[in-house]
Amino acid sequence: MELGPHAAFIWASYGVNALVLGALIAWLVADGRLQQRRLDQLEARGVRRRSSAAQAGPGRRTS
């Protein structure tokens, strides 16, 4: 693929694009996993959201 005399600028643009968007996607995925893990840990310790406790039915402990 021949991109002419300014090929370095073109590749740099697409490289920066991939880097920034890749970092953004990686951060969002990692953040989502971290929050889900924290939520799971809290629920494993018996802390429940009111809506979850209500769905689980009477007799279950609510937070």
Binding site: N17, L21, L24, L28, G32, Q35, R49
Partner: protein
Amino acid sequence: MQTLTQRLANPTRFMELSQWLLPWLSGLAALLLAYGLYLTFFVAPPDYQQGETVKIMFIHVPAAWLAMMGYMVIAVSSFGLLVFRHPLADVSAKAAAPIGAAFTLLALVTGALWGKPMWGAYWVWDARLTSVLILFFLYLGLMALRSALDEDPALAGKLTAVLGLVGVAVLPVIRFSVDWWNTLHQPASVLRVGGPAIHSSILVPLLVMAAGFTLMFFALHLKAMRNEILRRRVRSLTMAEVERAARLEARTAE
């Protein structure tokens, strides 16, 4: 009958809907971007003036559009929070800030990388470039303000919403800067009265890339909103756990 925004006011319902929507949105964005890249590198001809450097426009222009759209999302969400107190408005505004900042950064960097071979300079203090730089600082300001008020999320939400609404004044300045002032940046060539001034061989790849970028923006925004809802649940459960521990301790002390 409930409107869509009223139905989505329930975070649990939003989580269910977004979980279903996110893979479709991401997949469609990936397909469009792959097709757009194919058109960019294997189909689109070099521009008669810019040569192959026009390929930078296929990412610069969508990034610049989304930089502005990201701020519109923040402004509309801020309005939704301050006026309607919509439960997800603050979540949406907070989630859009880093994504909008990323697209603004991309618009600035790719613009500089196009400017050097075409204008002979990475940067000029042109009205369009300067107003986009201000937009980038506005995004950073919104994130910094929210971060500084981390201990009081409700206050942080309200104050960033006010700043978000005040800052929306920069959008018409960006849009019309090329008409109001004598700028080095070229005037609008796609969204203009009289239709696009670009040949279809360049316009089609540009629009395909823009559509892919836009779907990716919404996919990223949905994901960031889901993360923020989870973060708020973690926060409220942590506080509930601390309160429960304090109650137990008090009972034991009695």
